[in-house]
């Protein structure tokens, strides 16, 4: 272990030395400040059981970002955001580009996993709510479900190597491979602890020595001057507990078709999660042999964004989320639970950079709530601005 640490320090020093030697003097330091803010009202009418487990009412999200291009090769970005859980630091990283094809990112950032995260800022996606697999607090029954498969964004500390290659003028191949701290959980926790994974209370320090590793490959084909097709696959594997006994693995695929101003997106994301089974009283079901120590949470969304006029976009989305496997004792979920959600929404551009968002969601749960209901509806009305 000590040899590994020494090797890591030597490599880091060597890298810093190489950077200092090959970095060109900055012609000019250019700064770009940007931000966004969204206020959203979520109405879940006559659904008292959901009200105790959903943020219905007003929520506000705010983000401020500074990006600095120190030279052609070297840039830095810092982003501060405010949401339901206070101020966060989702981005503070350095980027260094080797030649024209390969880049290194070091610091705090959301690693390359899935397609949606690039658009997670509320100014960059058309509906108030995120896809269910990436939900971070706007879903009904969010406590029972512990949010989506992977709440987005998911900033972490580490390093990512990435590359972009073109085959002719029509095919773009992107790849990324990274090592980050990884998500966290208690030794006895049956699921990942999202709050503990992102909280600064632990000084953004990892709870174990084993980094999580992951990769993503994306292929984009230009079908025409204003149309393209993008296909991506991603995975991440890590250990969430301090003793590094438990494991999680994310896996996903995504497809995006753009024809002029119409966007069609389909994305799948799954997570296999192991948990501790030494205390059966913590679990709702008897552990079934060697395959009883994990659950699989997975889902997908399909959506279409269609401009209706120069200022109005229509958005239709279908979400599916399921969880198969043992649950914590007392959980209202069963060993096979699922959610279907349909969303109809539209955005109205009041002026460039300022949009009204309105949407209606219909929910179907395979599990009944304490009143025996499986259906619910929700409405969102929000205003989002970029500056």
């Amino acid at each position: 272990m000590r040899a590994l640490v020494v090797l890591a320090i030597v490599l880091a020093m060597a890298f810093a030395t190489v950077l200092a030697l090959i970095a060109r003097p900055a012609a000019a330091v250019e700064r770009n400040f940007a931000g966004s803010a969204m206020a959203d009202y979520h109405l879940a009418p006559a659904n008292h059981s959901s009200r105790s487990t959903a943020f219905d009412g007003f929520t506000t999200e705010l983000a401020l970002k500074a990006a600095i291009d120190v030279s052609d090769r070297f840039s830095a970005s810092v982003k501060v955001c405010y949401g339901c859980h206070g101020f966060e630091l989702p981005m503070a990283h350095l980027d260094y580009r080797f030649g024209t094809a390969v880049s290194l990112r070091v610091g705090r950032f959301s690693p390359s996993l899935g397609a949606f995260n690039l658009r997670h800022d509320p100014a960059n996606h058309r509906l108030s709510s995120k896809p269910l697999i990436y939900d971070m607090g706007r879903m009904l029954r969010m406590r029972e479900w512990n949010l989506g498969v992977l709440p987005s964004p998911f900033p972490d500390n580490g390093a990512e190597l990435s590359g972009t290659h073109w085959i002719g003028e029509t095919v773009q191949v992107d790849w990324a491979a990274y090592a980050v701290s990884g998500f966290k959980s208690d030794a006895q926790g049956i699921d990942l602890d999202w709050q503990r994974s992102r909280t600064p209370d632990a000084y953004y320090v990892d709870n174990n020595h084993r980094p999580a590793v992951g990769a993503r490959v994306v292929v984009t084909t230009k079908l025409g001057e204003t149309s393209d097709l993008t296909f991506g696959v991603s995975a991440q594997h890590g250990s969430p507990d301090a003793a590094s006994k438990l494991r999680y693995t994310f896996f996903g695929g995504d497809l995006t078709l753009r024809i002029r101003r119409t966007n069609v997106r389909v994305e799948y994301l799954g997570r296999r999660q192991t948990f501790e089974t030494s205390d059966p009283t913590q679990l709702a079901y008897r552990v079934a042999g060697a395959r009883g120590d994990f659950f699989v949470k997975q889902g997908l969304y399909a959506e279409i964004e269609q401009p209706l006029s120069g200022a109005v976009d229509l958005v239709l989305r279908y979400d599916f989320l399921s969880r198969n496997g043992n649950v914590q004792a007392g959980s209202p979920l069963s060993h096979r639970s699922a959610i279907h959600r349909g969303t109809v929404g539209f955005t109205y551009a009041i002026e460039r950079g300022l949009r009204l968002k309105a949407s209606t969601e219909t929910w179907h749960f395979t599990d009944e709530d304490h009143r025996g209901r499986q259906q619910a509806v929700g409405f969102h009305l929000g205003l989002v601005g970029t500056f």
Binding site: A27, N32, D121, Q172, V218, T230, G232, S309, T360
Partner: protein, 109 residues
């Protein structure tokens, strides 16, 4: 209650679609650009709206051509950007024109 809210949303949608007409709010009206730049603008609008709204670059207040060169090259490396080398040249041609217009407006004011 649910029906009421649903009907209100439909009426609101019909009203905004009807009132918005064909004006293009998100980006620029291509007919306001010199004819030889309209195709470049379409490439800019298509490629740069994949991950964010066009308000980001258009309202950034940046009018430095050197900045845009570095910035667009960085955006080209975003996964799935679809920004080829020839697209970079066309996007920068539009941004140079747009920046010059913005500088002229600032000077006039």
């Amino acid at each position: 209650m649910i029906r009421l809210v649903s009907r209100a949303l439909v009426v609101l949608l019909a009203a905004v679609v009807g009132c918005s007409g064909a004006r293009r709010v998100d980006g620029l009206d291509p007919s306001s650009l010199p004819p030889d730049l309209r195709a470049d603008y379409e490439v800019f609008a298509h490629r740069c709206s994949k991950c964010h709204t066009l308000a980001r670059p258009l309202d950034s207040g940046i009018t430095n051509d050197q900045f845009w060169r570095i910035y667009v090259t960085r955006m080209q490396r975003m996964p799935g950007s679809g920004i080829s080398d020839s697209d970079v040249a066309r996007i920068l041609r539009f941004l140079r024109h747009y920046s010059a217009e913005q500088r002229a407006k600032k000077a006039a004011s």
